[in-house]
């Protein structure tokens, strides 16, 4: 009898589907990283600089581990092309890099998911609201020309993705489509061309419009595309942090990919809250998430990484108690 009750309870729990962004956390973060690489390529096209090529090199490890597993030859070609870009950021090499990135996305993300409107919408949301995305880029643009170009390039990509998604949503939610177009119109006014306007506007306008698009997409698709609570945000970080050490011995690049993504998710979703509520725990987590990728890059032995992984797990558990 007791067992039956347990099974029923388990079934009831299992029936509660995870929010879309959690269920597809891995392909989504890969799509986000690949899209941001594309954005970086556009930045390079409009504003060739050492910083822009360096940014490409920084972004690549966010997909390199997974791509090694799927298609190591393709990764090799991509790396080589990005190295060439650093020396000569000319049109044909840029075009080649873009083609390779397109193929990488196809290799990394299952076709069924790529054609899922919810997935496409989630990628738009990430491009608008994530670290290195449109609204954050516009906020940073006050002090940096390149941040503006990045925000503008991200917005161009969002428009392309939206053009592909719009016909599907037009039938489901004409009102939602109107709201999305209105908010994209606001972003279009803020980011009129690759060259920054003489005076930028309040970055809150970009943040608000990005959020408007996100909410309207969620409503039109009746699915949750962004975390609404801290336990979900923590799950995103944990999902990336937990596999770091288990995969490190055999798949170093994959371990680095997880570690860097965990660091990004931590900064995006948890840092502000923990810094306010638990400054010591925040420092500890931030330090570990900084140190672990450094050790992986330095080829540290597994035994040197394991204590950090254990400490990270414990600190995230402690964060879980705070962020309930």
């Amino acid at each position: 009898m007791k067992r039956w009750v347990s099974l029923l309870l388990l079934g009831a729990t299992g029936a509660q589907a995870e929010p879309f962004f959690l269920e597809h956390a891995d392909p989504l973060r890969l799509a986000q990283a690949a899209e941001l690489l594309r954005v970086r390529l556009e930045v390079l096209r409009h504003q060739p600089s050492g910083e822009a090529t360096e940014a490409l090199q920084t972004q690549l490890p966010l997909i390199a581990g997974s791509l090694t597993a799927k298609n190591p030859a393709l990764l090799g070609q991509l790396e080589q092309t990005l190295r060439q870009l650093a020396k000569n950021p000319a049109g044909p090499t840029l075009e080649r890099a873009r083609e390779l990135l397109e193929r990488a996305q196809q290799a990394l993300i299952p076709g069924k998911l790529r054609s899922d409107p919810a997935f496409q919408a989630a990628v738009i949301v990430r491009l608008l609201r994530s670290e290195g995305g449109v609204s954050e880029g516009y906020e940073a643009a006050g002090g940096e020309e390149e941040a503006y170009v990045q925000a503008w390039a991200g917005f161009q990509r969002v428009k392309t993705l939206w053009t592909a998604l719009k016909p599907t949503l037009q039938k489901r939610s004409p009102q939602g489509v109107r709201e999305i177009e209105r908010a994209l119109g606001v972003l279009g006014q803020l980011l009129p061309s690759a060259k920054a306007p003489a005076r930028l506007r309040d970055p809150e306008d970009a943040e608000r419009a990005a959020l408007d698009v996100s909410f309207a997409l969620e409503a039109a698709l009746s699915t949750q595309l962004l975390p609404r609570d801290l336990p979900s945000s923590l799950s995103l970080v944990r999902g990336q942090a937990e596999p770091i050490c288990p995969v490190y011995a055999k798949h170093q690049r994959l371990a680095l990919e997880y570690a860097l993504t965990a660091q990004i998710f931590f900064r995006e979703y948890l840092e502000g809250t923990l810094a306010t509520l638990e400054p010591a725990l925040h420092r500890k987590l931030a330090g570990l998430l900084e140190r672990i990728p450094e050790k992986i890059r330095a080829d540290a032995p597994t035994t040197a990484l394991e204590p950090d992984c254990k400490a990270l797990k414990a600190a995230l558990a402690q964060a879980g108690a705070t962020l309930r």
Binding site: G272, T273, T276, L277
Partner: protein
């Protein structure tokens, strides 16, 4: 008593009665005015509550779109409106970052106060002696003494502070941290940071119940209202209003029995019974687009909303909970408060 004397006494009594009723008539009942901050128009629209017509527009900055009036507060006697005005230069405090005081009777700007960089919202203490501003980009809450015209102190808050309110006993200030999902508690008398605590995702606004025992905090992304036990500064209940609700401003009826939450995502005003913390009604019909500001008249008869996307104010009848009028405001209405002319 002779007939004449009785007649004189009667006449005198009638005279006194007549005089006292004349006095009652002559004693003016208060007049209410709704003040609406127009974020993109850099102005305040003034609405006569009796007729629901616009009776004035007060410019508060010369650079619409760049310098913005946002949150507002009313002095305890209802005679002064305080408006948080800021530009968007995050690191620098400029002359455009200020709190503007408006005299309700004359609709004139009577003072300007500098209370730190980038003030997004402002609150006034129940005795009218202090102002408290949330300094968004500085991640601080700043207190200001209206008598000495000096800053009392600044306190670190969560990330992107926004909502700010002073408890009815004047002891505590609550400041919401928009991207840290926290509320900061400041002891307004001892000028000490008390604590930070966690609320819903992206908290935007806070109000205290009239008796001060509860605080209500809206969460835009969470789609919730957190109910806080102010004795412990702890969330004791969370009222879900839907993930698409995008709740921003909150207002309580004067008796504290009803909480009105402005839902910009659904173009609705959510009406909550504070005894049960249950939703009574979502007022949607004829509402303007994106109501993010909400205020209740001191007599509790009407609710006014600031509708950001339709450049309008919706007027809701508190008895029927239905929209009875829509009034054109300036560009981008952000907040609304009710002032009193006595």
């Amino acid at each position: 008593m002779g007939g004449l004397k009785r007649g004189l006494i009667l006449a005198g009594a009638i005279g006194i009665l007549a005089f006292s009723s004349v006095s009652r008539v002559q004693q003016k009942s208060p007049t209410y005015r709704a003040f609406v901050s127009n974020e993109y128009g850099a102005s305040i629209t003034v609405i006569d509550v009796a007729t629901d017509s616009v009776i004035g527009t007060i410019p508060v900055a010369g650079r619409p779109g760049e310098v913005r009036p946002r949150g507002m507060a009313v002095s305890p006697d209802g005679k002064t409106i305080y408006v948080a005005v800021s530009d968007f230069l995050p690191k620098i405090e400029t002359p455009e970052d200020k709190i503007v005081a408006i005299d309700v009777a004359s609709n004139k700007v009577i003072a300007e106060y500098r209370i730190g960089t980038n003030p997004e919202r402002v609150a006034v203490s129940p005795d009218g002696s202090q102002l408290w501003a949330s300094n968004e980009n500085a991640a601080k809450g700043t207190g200001f003494d209206l008598k000495t015209k000096q800053i009392l102190d600044s306190f670190p808050t969560g990330v992107e502070p926004e909502g700010v309110a002073v408890s009815p006993d004047g002891r505590f200030v609550y400041i919401t941290g928009e991207t840290s999902h926290t509320v900061t508690v400041v002891d307004a008398k001892g000028l000490k940071l008390v604590k930070h605590f966690l609320v819903g995702n992206r908290p935007r606004h806070v109000v205290f119940s009239p008796d001060g025992s509860r605080a209500y905090i809206s969460a835009e992304i969470g789609g919730t209202v957190s109910v806080v036990d102010t004795a412990q500064h702890r969330v004791i209940q969370t009222i879900p209003l839907g993930l698409d609700s995008r709740i921003v401003e909150l207002a309580l009826s004067p008796d504290g029995k009803r909480l009105f939450a402005a839902g910009g995502g659904t173009n609705a005003i959510y009406v909550i019974d504070t005894a049960t913390n249950k939703l009574i009604k979502a007022v949607k019909e004829r509402m303007g687009r994106r109501p993010w500001g909400v205020a209740v008249t001191p007599d509790g008869k009407k609710i006014y909303t600031a509708d950001g996307l339709s450049d309008s104010v919706s007027v809701i009848d508190a008895a029927s909970l239905s929209v009875v009028k829509k009034i054109a405001a300036g560009r981008g209405p952000h907040s609304v408060v009710i002032g009193v002319v006595r």
